[in-house]
């Protein structure tokens, strides 16, 4: 911690810019601490406040814009990836999309203060085709609020910087503990799922070329290829296996009623 603060004093602007840019693109670095240290440095006259503000806001806008572009390129695949850990990915995708659609604009204003959400809001805005100018305006307001809040803390309470730094250190330890516990819980959940669904391994599996050969033979009419992806049907231009049909995972009982019983079903996902 002390090394970090002395780094800020020595390399000032470049450290602040790099730290904030790194956090903006999702890396686990202490951008808030850099802002507090920058504010304190400005109060002591070591650095210039307007330059710190401009660099901090600029770094965050650059990082957020990169994530926005990533989201717009990945489309709904990004949300699908994030919802993989959910017990019901389909529901997770639908609810998350609806929720961000309703509250996305307000979320962008406060996202920087919420770990996790700060890195997810920009790519989601991109995925959901928020106009870039609108995104930039909302993000600028949110980023400015964040930079002024933490920079202001450092500026006003520079004499208590050591106490503030200790507070951040304690918060960092707490965050580490939360991450460790969450990781253990996730691994335990996956193990539980594995044990619960071990019986599924008895379902016969078929290699791609084996099925392709069957489709080219006279057996083709006895075969139905079924797409059971929980996502993948959200982006225009999405593809699927030629001639396959989709089963909606959330409506399985209704879907089963429509399936032919005289055909072999070959299921696939991503």
């Amino acid at each position: 911690m002390n090394e970090f603060l002395s780094l800020i004093a020595r390399h000032g602007y470049s450290i602040i810019f790099a730290t904030i840019l790194a956090e903006a693109i999702g890396l686990p670095v202490p951008a808030a601490l850099a802002l507090v240290a920058g504010g304190a440095a400005a109060a002591s006259g070591t650095l210039h406040a307007p330059v710190i503000l401009a660099l901090a806001v600029g770094a965050m806008l650059i990082g957020d814009s990169l994530l926005y572009v990533l989201g717009s390129r990945m489309g709904w695949g990004l949300l699908g990836f994030l919802c993989k850990v959910s017990s019901s990915p389909e529901t997770c995708i639908l609810r998350s999309a609806e929720s961000f659609y309703k509250r996305g604009r307000a979320t962008l204003l406060i996202a920087k203060f919420i770990p996790g959400v700060n890195s997810m809001a920009p790519p989601l805005a991109g995925s959901m085709r928020m106009p870039f100018a609108q995104f930039l305006g909302l993000d600028f307001a949110g980023v400015s609020f964040y930079v002024l809040a933490y920079g202001g803390v450092g500026f006003l309470f520079r004499d208590f910087l050591a106490v503030i730094a200790r507070g951040f250190l304690a918060a960092g330890h707490l965050a580490e503990a939360v991450v460790v516990v969450a990781t253990i819980a996730f691994v335990a959940y996956r193990l539980w799922l594995y044990r619960k669904y071990r019986i599924y391994r008895v379902v016969p599996r078929v290699q791609v070329m084996e099925l392709a050969n069957q489709l080219q033979s006279g057996d083709a009419e006895k075969i139905l290829v079924v797409d059971v992806r929980s996502h993948g049907y959200y982006d225009a231009g999405a593809t699927r296996i030629l001639g396959s049909i989709r089963i909606e995972p959330n409506n399985l009982p209704q879907e089963i009623a429509t399936l032919p019983r005289d055909k072999d079903l070959y299921l696939y996902c991503t």
Partner: protein, 45 residues
């Protein structure tokens, strides 16, 4: 899901590697028809 289908009396199989393996093997794919797409909300509409 394949297990549930088998329990219901369907002769169900799982394609190893899914769509990714199918594509990698150079097998034919098609664009999902527009009326099959699920339309999630977007800020642009």
């Amino acid at each position: 899901m394949a297990h549930i289908l088998r329990e219901q009396g369907f002769n169900a199989f799982v394609i190893v590697g899914g769509l990714t393996a199918w594509r990698k093997a150079g097998q034919p794919v098609e664009t999902v028809p527009n009326n099959d797409l699920v339309h999630l909300p977007t800020f642009s509409r």
